[in-house]
């Protein structure tokens, strides 16, 4: 008998998994690749859809009112990155390398801005640093009256300064998370060695600490840069006449309905982001390699004077974060802010939260947002888990699986504005032209253009990468032999999935649900273009619109609702994970 080349017979289960995998491919292609293609194509067309090559780009760079924003974006992103990473480093250092008390509390405060829409930072800043801000007005004469000095100062909020402040707040938690991780994995033995060699502290810092976290530092810089470079919420509120790319896209598309120029500016927004994304991927892999090595964790020793300095610094940063949020919550209850100038006229009110009060859009957008966040969290978790599961656990089809992995991580490089705009372009197309032919078919996806489904898809794609990585990491940690064991017992894959894989992924699944919920609630950039469907006005978009109409107090009220909801959800999640899961899952020890 001569040996023959063989391949395994495919079972029904194999076909099911492969069909699902193929469906996932279609879904990601429709939800990512097609829209992005449309966006890029539109930047080479004029308003009537004729191909005009690079003329849009030429117009952009030769029109000063447009091209300044590119420079402005870089300026303010670099500055925000510098401040947030510097402050973030000190905070992360305090949390990991000093023995200050209250670390848990500080960490909670530092991470607070993650739950806050970036527009809300802007609103808080207006009430603190605007021309009638509490600080600008020196606490409205409070100190002047009692102690005879006036602490007022004006930082000229609107423009560069305001964006810098807001984006620093927005980026700070990201920097702190990354740098805390980097500082935690440092090896105590290096420091013991340095100490035994009597190395001075500053040299230990320069020669041991900094090199040890170099990848973490670089990663923090890159991540913060992307965040600040693409942020829309802060500049739209406090940007004043300081145009940046993200607000330009908005102005071109919403203000002037100039879609071609909007697409052009979007491409300019996405190019640097894509570059940074690629660099960051490389850096992250290096860092992961570092984590793999065995280290002895460092136990910081108390050291009175430096600890005191770090404590005061952390306290100050916490105070800033809390007062920006607190001020906008406070402002949402004040009837006429200007009357603060005369404390006797101060009146509190719930009007800003009210449905029928003049100027307010009512509470409906908030419920819309909650709905959207629920759908996005539900649908997103299911479909992203399925994607991660099929990629991790399907035998064979390696190329397709790695292509799906690539597609799944791509959205991290796509700013929300770009996702939103590309969705308008693609899903609003009345017909699609089949590639390589002149045949055109009615766009089968056009139907969802004005429905909430489009918003759900936009959110799921916008936050696809982090969820995907979380879930596939969880799946990777599950013993690969489980599938073999199940096969040996002739148990179909879906039973193993339900009885073993899903329960084991429960922590990651609930984390993903919360992540998608909070971010869907918080985001504005992807949705600001898509809300146009009647009755789909969302909370964060309403905040932008209210702010745009000068209804800052109502915007603050809406912000307060969003922030409180997102904090509540995270609080519940925290309780569930800490108390319930740890206590009742006997196997999770």
């Amino acid at each position: 008998m001569t040996p023959q080349p063989t391949s395994q017979i495919l079972t029904l289960e194999d076909w099911i998994r492969r069909s699902l995998l193929f469906l996932i491919l279609c879904w990601l292609t429709v939800a990512i690749l097609f829209p992005i293609y449309q966006l890029v194509a539109r930047s080479f067309q004029n308003s009537d859809g004729q191909w005009i090559g690079l003329l849009n780009y030429l117009e952009y760079f030769t029109t000063p009112s447009l091209s300044t924003s590119l420079l402005n974006s870089f300026q303010v992103a670099i500055a925000s990155t510098f401040t947030s990473v510097s402050i973030g480093f000190i905070c992360a250092y305090a949390l990991t390398r000093t023995a200050i008390p209250g670390k848990g509390m500080f960490r909670m405060f530092f991470l607070l801005p993650i739950s806050i829409p970036s527009v809300t930072h802007g609103i808080g800043l207006i009430y603190l640093f605007g021309n009638q801000g509490i600080l600008t007005r020196g606490f409205f004469g409070f100190f002047q009256d009692r102690f005879g000095f006036d602490p007022s100062f004006n930082i000229q909020l609107y423009g560069f300064n305001g964006i810098l402040l807001g984006d620093t707040l927005d980026c700070l938690p990201l920097a702190i998370i990354i740098l805390t991780t980097a500082l935690t994995i440092a090896d105590a033995r290096l420091y013991e060695a340095a100490q035994s060699l009597k190395t001075p502290n500053w040299r230990t810092f320069l020669q041991v600490t900094l090199p040890g976290i170099r990848y973490g530092l670089l990663s923090a810089i890159l991540v913060c840069f992307i965040q600040a470079f693409t942020d829309f919420g802060v500049p739209i509120v406090v940007g004043g006449q300081f145009n940046v790319l993200a607000t330009d896209v908005y102005k071109q598309v919403i203000g002037q309905q100039n879609f071609a120029m909007g697409a052009t500016v979007s491409v300019l927004l996405v190019l640097p982001t894509l570059l940074v994304f690629v660099v960051n991927r490389i850096v992250e892999q290096r860092q992961i390699a570092l984590v793999g090595a065995k280290v002895v964790p460092l136990k910081p020793k108390p050291n009175l004077f430096p600890d005191l300095v770090f404590f005061v610094f952390c306290g100050f940063i916490s105070l800033v974060i809390l007062s920006v949020l607190g001020t906008s919550i406070f402002a949402s209850f004040v009837k006429v802010w200007y009357n603060l100038n005369d404390p006797r006229l101060l009146q509190f009110t719930l009007d800003n939260y009210n449905v029928n009060v003049a100027g307010s859009t009512g509470i409906e957008p908030f419920w819309n947002s909650i709905q959207l966040a629920l759908y996005s969290a539900g649908f997103g978790t299911i479909v992203i888990f399925l994607t991660a599961y099929l990629v991790e656990k399907t035998p064979g089809w390696n190329q397709l699986r790695s292509f799906i992995t690539f597609l799944s991580t791509l959205p991290n490089a796509l700013p929300g504005m770009v996702v939103g705009l590309s969705y308008i372009f693609f899903f609003n197309l009345p017909s699609l032209i089949l590639p390589f032919t002149d045949l055109s078919i009615p766009n089968p996806f056009n139907g969802i253009y004005t429905s909430i489904i489009l918003l759900v898809i936009a959110n799921v794609i916008h936050y696809h990468t982090v969820s995907f990585v979380t879930l596939s990491t969880a799946l990777k940690q599950i013993d690969a032999e489980f599938e073999a064991i199940a096969a040996s017992m002739r148990v179909p894959f879906y039973i193993t999935l339900v009885r073993v894989t899903l329960p084991l992924c429960l922590p990651a699944l609930s984390q993903t649900v919360v992540y998608l919920f909070v971010n869907s609630l918080r985001t504005v950039s992807a949705l600001v273009f898509l809300y146009s469907a009647p009755g789909l006005l969302l909370a964060t978009v309403a905040i932008v619109n209210l702010e745009d109409a000068g209804e800052t107090a109502a915007a603050a009220a809406m912000s307060t609702l969003v922030v409180l909801t997102s904090l509540t959800i995270q609080g519940i999640y925290g309780l569930m994970t800490q108390r319930l899961i740890n206590r009742s899952f006997g196997w999770m020890q």
Binding site: P3, T6, I9, A484, R490, W587
Partner: protein, 367 residues
Amino acid sequence: MTNPYLQLEGISKKFGQFIALGGIYLEIEQGEFICLLGPSGCGKTTLLRIIAGLEQQDQGVIIQGGKDISRLPAVRRDFGIVFQSYALFPNLTAAQNIAFGLQNLKKSPVETRRRTEELLDLVGLPSHGHHYPSQLSGGQQQRVALARAIALSPGLLLLDEPLSALDAQVRVSLRQEIRQLQRRVGITTIMVTHDQIEALTMADRIAVMNRGVIEQLASPSQVYRHPTTHFVGSFIGAMSFLPAIVKGIGWADCCGYGIRLHDVPVPAGNPIQLAIRPEDVRLAETHAMGDNIVKARVKGIEYLGAMERVTMGLHSPSGVTPDGKEREVLWMDLPASVSRDLNISVGELLSIHLPMDSIRVFAREGT
């Protein structure tokens, strides 16, 4: 003659350029316990996974119980498997783990419970059914894994380094338990291991593998006493190798000493290797001369408890080899009592007898 239960015919597998398996032929009888023994990277695990259908061979045919299963996926094959990592489902109790496959058979819950209890009894854990894996010791976990693997009474039990993750003591006791269990159930078993003691104590036959091929397939004593290749000799137990040249029928020259051998299948003038186990090396009278007597200088003495292993360097018969230059190494095991009486010390020159019956002859490659 009845057909063997499992037949592998020309199984080969490449990973890119790397040849993992280069044409494996193997026949296993019903109820036999076979060990695949070899260093890491020799292809033994790949072979096991191919038998299970978890990997697909590039070429070759597998016949199990008279049926060609070469192209069947794992779910359609008939085997139970135990991994080094135990691979117990951490969210299910021991009993639930064992019942995992049974439940899928649409048997009545009573029947499933009865079988589960039976299996827990069989592996000696009758009262541990409600424990989660994290609440069990390593040995207990592996027993549960074993019970789970045989729950469906498969025709073939595959064990992938099942004992490697355990403590030395647990390993010894579990080794026997597995063997007893296997005899009692009568299941055909293939175990992958890199531990020769495991293989020697447990297997009916050992397939010693190296670089993707089976170098020798034989009973443990055959493999130990009569290794057919240099690799097998050196991998299992200790063995000294000495270069020699064939001088005539049953006669060779080794570094100037005349050595009598049993029939050598090599013509005169060819280089060969002489191999001998340390326990077969004998101490001769101090001034003894003649065939199979060599001089060697003591380089070191290793205390092994009941034994002492003397490492020696072969000395030239002309006596011209300067001290420290004796390059060819020879080991000799002496019972501790004997060596105590002899009081051998490092640097001493000894006369050594290499019994003709104990010498194995291998071809010498390269040189």
